[in-house]
Symmetry: C2
Subunit: 236 residues, 2 copies
Amino acid sequence: MILPLNQIIEGDCIEVLSGFPEKTIDLIFADPPYNLQLQNELHRPNMTKVDAVDDYWDQFGSFQEYDEFTRKWLTACKRVLKPTGTIWVIGSYHNIFRVGTIMQDLGYWILNDVIWVKTNPMPNWLGVRFTNAHETLIWASIGKGAKYTFNHQAMKGLNDGKQMRSDWWLLSLATGAERVKDENGYKAHSTQKPEALLYRVILSSSNPGDIVLDPFFGSGTTGVVARRLHRHWIGI
Amino acid sequence: MILPLNQIIEGDCIEVLSGFPEKTIDLIFADPPYNLQLQNELHRPNMTKVDAVDDYWDQFGSFQEYDEFTRKWLTACKRVLKPTGTIWVIGSYHNIFRVGTIMQDLGYWILNDVIWVKTNPMPNWLGVRFTNAHETLIWASIGKGAKYTFNHQAMKGLNDGKQMRSDWWLLSLATGAERVKDENGYKAHSTQKPEALLYRVILSSSNPGDIVLDPFFGSGTTGVVARRLHRHWIGI
DNA sequence: TATAAAGGTGAATCCGCAC
DNA sequence: AGTGCGGATTCACCTTTAT
C-alpha cells in the first residue's frame, strides 16, 4: 500500500491504521476522545460540558472499556511509527492518566509531559474547584533508548534564545479566522486546538519532508500546520 | 486507638495506617517515591556532577511492583479518610500517570490536577528534551458526589482577587533558611517541597482544627505549614 | 556599607560512536 | 554489552567573595 499523503481518510482509526505499512510514520499527534459514548457524534463535548456532566464516567460505561479502546489505537500507532518516530497525545485529567499508564505499559518511552497553560481558560463558575486552566500532552518515543528528533535550536528560537520548558503558555482557543465554522457560522469542532500548539509540536519533533499522522483528525489544524512547515500529513 | 497528633510516627506507612481508626483524617498530602529509574551519572557542561536522587526508597523493579505499592498505600489512605476528606498526591511523569489511574480505579474522584510550574528548574543540559519545569498534583475526594472542603475565597485572596487556577507558579525548591540541613550542613532530605506549595494545599482544602496526614513525611514541611495554619498534623 | 562578580545547585528516566 | 572518548551542552536563584 502506498500511503495517501496530505489527505483525510474517513473511517475508524484503528481499522484504517491496520491497513498501513509498518514503520512509515515519523510523527503522530493524537487528540483522542474523552468519552466513547460520544465518539460517533459529529463533535465531542468540550471541557465545560464534560465538567457539567457529572455522570461522565457513567455514560462512558467503565474505565475498562476506555482502557481497551486506548490500548488498541496506541498499539496501532506503535506499529506504524518508524523506529525513530515519536508520538504526542493530548488530554485532561479525565483521561490522560489512563493514556499515560497504557503508553508506559505498551513500551512507549516518555520523553516529556508538556503542560499547555491556557491564558484565557473557562472559569469554574461555581467556585468549587480550581479553574481548569491547562491540558496535558505526553511526548514519547517508541521505546527506551530509541533515537528521535528534537529540534532544540528551533525551540530556543521560540523562547528568547533560552531552552524551551515543559510549560507552554498559549491562548486557550482557536479564535477568529483560525476557527473553523460550518455554513451556519457555528464552530465546527468544539475541541479545536490552536495552531500555535501544533506549530510547536511539529516543529520540535519532526523535519521537513517527514510524515505526520493525526489519527483523530478534527478540524484539520494538524494538516494546516504540517503543510506550512513542509511536512506531509495524513488525517483519519 | 487515639490518633497521635502533631508528631512523627516511624515506620512503614502502610503498616502504620492499618493501625489507625477509619474515617478520621480530613486531609492527606502524599509525596510518594517517583520511581525515577535514573541510569547514569549526569554532569553539567562544566563537568560538575549533579547530585541526583538515588535514595534506596526510590528503587522499584518494575511498573508492576510500583503499581502494587501504590495501590496499597492509596487503599490504606482511603480507609482513614473521612467521608468529607480529600487527598493530594504529587508526582512527575515517571509515576503520576500510574498514580492517577490507580486512584480512579480505587474510586477516588479527581477534583483537579494542579500543575506546579517551577520558576527555576534544572535545565536539560544536553538539549535533547524540553526542560522539565513542572510537577503534577492530583486532588481527589473519596468518591463521586462526596462533599469536600474548598476555600474558594482564601484562594482568591492569594491570586489578586481572581479565581485560583490549576497552574501554580512557585519556586522550584526549598532553599536558604527554609531548607532543612543536617549537622554537617548537607541537605537532610533530597526532595523537600517548598512551604508555599503546602500552604496552598492545606489552606485550600482544610479548615482550622482539621487533621492533616502526610504518609511520606520527609523533611517535615507538611507539619510546619499545618501548624502555622492551625491544623493538627501526623507524619509517617 | 553597598554593589558587583563569582560560585554552587536542583525529583533528570539527558549523546553517540568506535572498539 | 561494556568501555572509552570526542564533542556539544545550561537556567534561575541563592550564597559567598570581591571590589
